[in-house]
Symmetry: C2
């Protein structure tokens, strides 16, 4: 049996970029993308799964490249009207994006699993690789700030990451069952490599690792595990990764992320800017900033070459 | 105490037209509009109240005069996207309209009464007269067709009124509490008249009458009760009123509607076309077709003159 299966762990925007790159260089049936659901939340009575949706939009070519988040061809009539009736508007929901939340909520309430709904949407949108939530059970990231524990989206969107983070917790993780397809893939003799996408380690990857069995499955998978640094030259490409690292007392660098993952990784991919960093894992260097589709594809190739 | 209070019973489109006319000739504090909620339903997990919304849109000047239903300046991104993920699309929900349903559902689930939510939206939209649902408890119109009982919106929108109606039922009506403001208004010494708007008697007005206490309150109100015929020259202005009358074995005429209301009415307003009709109540004649705002205002004046 040939080793041809790639498992990618991903959060939202940054992770989805590499996942898109991987989808261009790995056959669809050989790529399993595990989505973080720690960012999921209930808002306006709707079940919202930001990272799953970002992955689906990106892989379907429906991502909004103007905004850098959300749906392409988005309109905002819902939000405008919600404001006129005094509804909560701190979380911006586009009219097209809303369809996904309303229909997902309806199907979840009817008893369908999040992974099944995700797979159906992906199929309808012509997405080749599988996108699987880390768990069908709810896991909710919480942020301990000076004022106390915050729901993740309150911290992330509501307060725009301004509070100083003292600690993170993944509510529900201890009771959540890892998605069986993830566990099966990690145990498969077909497994070629695990790729940890350049997502925020604390809020995008560690929620996945917090689900019981995932760390052990990675440790025992027998294949290379490579992470791509989300830090380039001491800065995060996007989002609060660098700010969080500093607040959590870590060195804000590509090496700091590698140290955080520790023995979980066999390999680590640095940007050219960080080529001299001292890390414990087998290091490779590439251009990790992904602006164009070509950048994404090139980085995907470099990652696969690094573990070949 | 002067008799200055007008209570109007209304369904959707046709009723809202006269309600708008009344709002131009009656001071806001003297007009109480009772909305039918028998058309309400749950769809996509949302609580939808079509007649309340039509009244609110019409009185706020937000009605869609191009479509003849729904919201002005509507967009359809939600519906387009819902279709791409296989969601139910038989009931058209515009992006702006959706805001009302999502926010109402959220507030209902938080324990707020439908009447309170309705009043708040009306206030925010600058609507003068009060719009009060007939009850805060759920009442759901059911249609008995050859194939069995149908939910109202399945009959009305899903099957576009094609099934032959054998019987109507108002599920929940027997347990529903009439809104206390309606009962108080009907018992008020200030009551000048009750106006039954030209809505479908079977599906817009009779659900209101089916709530315990409403018929008795009308019978004992001591003020004129006038209905405006929804039938002009043997035809309904809009919707299935004429078709339903025929299917229920009634004479399809303005007089047929007057006979259906019977002793509930003291007065009845006919269109000029039906001036010769023989009816039991005190008859008046006016132009009842309301195309323009002037038509609506003129009919409202004629109705109030008829009971003066």
């Amino acid at each position: 049996m040939s080793r041809d299966l790639i498992v990618a762990l991903s959060g939202g925007i940054g992770g989805a970029k590499l996942a898109l790159g991987l989808s261009h260089v790995v056959a669809p049936e050989n790529l399993l993308i595990i989505a973080n659901t720690g960012d999921d939340f209930e808002h306006l009575g709707l079940s919202i799964s930001p990272d799953i949706d970002t992955l689906a939009y990106t892989l379907a070519g429906l991502d909004n490249q103007v905004l850098g988040w959300g749906r392409r061809d988005e309109t905002w009539s819902f939000m405008e009207t919600l404001e006129t009736i005094g509804g909560p508007t701190w979380f911006r929901l586009g009219d097209r994006d809303l369809a996904l939340h309303v229909e997902r909520t309806r199907r979840l309430k009817a008893g369908e699993a999040l992974s099944s709904i995700t797979a159906d949407v992906a199929r309808r949108w012509g997405i080749g690789p599988r996108i699987v939530p880390m768990s069908d059970d709810p896991v909710r990231t919480k942020v301990l700030a000076e004022a106390g524990w915050l729901d993740f989206q309150d911290y992330f969107v509501g307060q725009q990451c301004r509070p100083v983070v003292r600690q993170l917790a993944f509510e529900g993780a201890a009771q959540a069952r890892a998605h069986p397809d993830m566990i099966a893939a990690l145990a498969s003799p077909r497994l070629k490599a695990v790729v940890i996408c350049p997502s925020n380690p604390f809020i995008s990857v560690e929620p996945i690792l917090a689900v019981p069995g995932v760390r052990a499955a990675l440790a025992g998978c027998g294949a290379p595990v490579i992470a791509v640094s989300p830090i380039i030259g001491g800065k995060a490409v996007k989002g609060p990764t660098a700010k969080m690292m500093a607040e959590l007392g870590l060195e804000v660098s590509a090496a700091g992320v590698a140290a955080r993952y520790g023995a979980l990784l066999t390999h680590y991919m640095l940007d050219h800017q960080d080529a001299g960093a001292t890390i414990a894992q087998t290091a490779s260097v590439a251009q990790t900033m992904m602006r164009t589709l070509d950048d994404k594809i090139a980085l995907a190739r470099a990652v696969l070459d690094a573990v070949a």
